[in-house]
Symmetry: C2
Subunit: 287 residues, 2 copies
């Protein structure tokens, strides 16, 4: 496995791989690798001949007051995990490689980034899409792998790739959960033992929603009310949003009659957690 720090070397190494006719996978990460990332790397290895994991804590997707400073950084640990998982290249540029000058160019996906996490995280998705466009142009992979846990992110990136004719396939892998159901996230490590227990209520709320839908409920206000009630069981949970939206255009819906995204974001103490399920009445449960 090669650890590459510069854009020029990444282009050189991966260009040769592409020239050799090998299929290149990209798994973009911020480096605090967990089982969710490992499942992406595994999927990448099954679909492609050469796996590139990028590790970059992208400052432009963190808002003022967010956790850019304390976000966990341990390149050695991450590299070792990648090596053991069969990754071919870890591309871990420093911020001045990615942003040698104050960036002037922004890629923005309008319409999909104003609601859900976009509402409380102003500028977040603009930072995500811009850095992804950059990474896509540097790595020029055939397929990029993202996790369903960041539901809005994958929908936004998928739309960017389509709109800008980026020659890249986006594959979305299922959310990986702890045995008790908590969606695995780099930010789980911020939680105190007490908060860790409270965090389970996100999963419980989504399960309750699923159960009601299976029982025939189609009214989104009713479903949302029930989920809010579950989250309300802990005074330490402050919901940001509990939403049911069309899974394509992310607009709020009143009734479950199309493929829906049920998405929850809460503050547990100082930690922001998100989780979601896709409800497709024609498909079996994913939770």
């Amino acid at each position: 496995m090669q650890l590459i720090k510069t854009i020029d070397e990444a282009r050189r190494v991966i260009g040769q791989v592409r020239y050799d006719g090998r299929k290149v996978a990209l798994v973009p990460t911020m480096g605090a690798l967990h089982a969710g990332h490992m499942s992406l790397i595994q999927a990448a290895g099954q679909a492609c001949d050469f796996i590139v994991v990028t590790i970059f804590v992208n400052p432009t997707q963190f808002g003022a007051g967010e956790d850019l400073g304390k976000y966990p950084r341990d390149l050695e640990r991450a590299s070792e995990m990648c090596r053991l998982a069969g990754v071919d290249v870890v591309f871990a540029p420093d911020p001045d490689q990615m942003y040698p000058d104050e960036p002037m160019t922004w890629v923005n996906v309008e319409g999909l980034t104003e609601g859900l996490c976009g509402e409380s995280r102003q500028g977040h998705f603009r930072g995500v899409t811009t850095v992804c466009a950059k990474l896509f142009n540097i790595i020029r992979a055939d397929i990029a792998f993202f996790g369903q846990k960041d539901a809005q992110q994958v929908i936004v990136i998928d739309r960017m790739v389509a709109d800008l004719n980026i020659p890249l396939k986006i594959v979305v892998c299922p959310t990986v959960r702890q045995p008790d159901g908590l969606a695995i996230s780099s930010r789980n490590q911020y939680l105190s033992p007490e908060e860790r227990k409270d965090a389970l209520l996100l999963y419980a709320a989504l399960q309750e929603c699923r159960r009601m839908i299976d029982g025939g409920c189609r009214s989104c206000p009713e479903l949302i009310g029930a989920m809010q009630k579950v989250l309300g069981q802990s005074p330490r949970i402050v919901p940001d949003y509990v939403s049911i939206v069309d899974a394509e255009n992310l607009k709020n819906i009143e009734t479950i009659d199309q493929t829906a995204l049920v998405a929850v974001a809460v503050m547990v103490g100082a930690t922001r957690l998100i989780d979601n399920i896709i409800v497709d009445l024609n498909k079996p449960d994913d939770i």
Copy 2:
């Protein structure tokens, strides 16, 4: 020469050329080809092995009340000119190829697009950068060729390419002029014989500026005043802007002591014309 209408076929044909190790040139146009475009095609032929000319009247870069509807379209004439000039592929997609859905994703270069033409043409550069990002992703050329006449456009695109790590070299070719000095533009054909005479005052104003600088004048307000006076010789000319800006960041400057862009935009009757010179005190005149 191949005339290609679909993105899939363009990717297939040009992908093979790239795979064969040939260097691909891109000359993006809106199809009303003139001597300026031909000079770009000539430069492309000198630098590369395979020339792609794109022809697309991009609706998203025209504002309300601009000339999208009457913009000259003659694909047969343009194709024939390309064929005679040794072009290998003309890519002329229909609007529904380029925008199958209402676009949600926009590439915007902030800071460089608010002044000069960006001020009176709201949204214009966002349309230009977005369609260029799309064309760059479809054609994947090694070098793209643009004309210096659209000075702000080339600076904006150059910045987008750098900021987004697009693996493409931008080459800027000199403005091509009629024997009497008028910068060649697709929009010149809108001019009545009388307006055509008035349009020469753009060139005269830039010449006057150059003459004053050669004579030692360094004061931008003085230079701008002199240019406005020249333009004022015709009542049919309504200046949009007469500006002297830093040639890198496009900010207004007070004194000529760095590389400066002297740029003029006017309405001559219903037609908008632009022209410019770069003033580099260390280099010989370009006008």
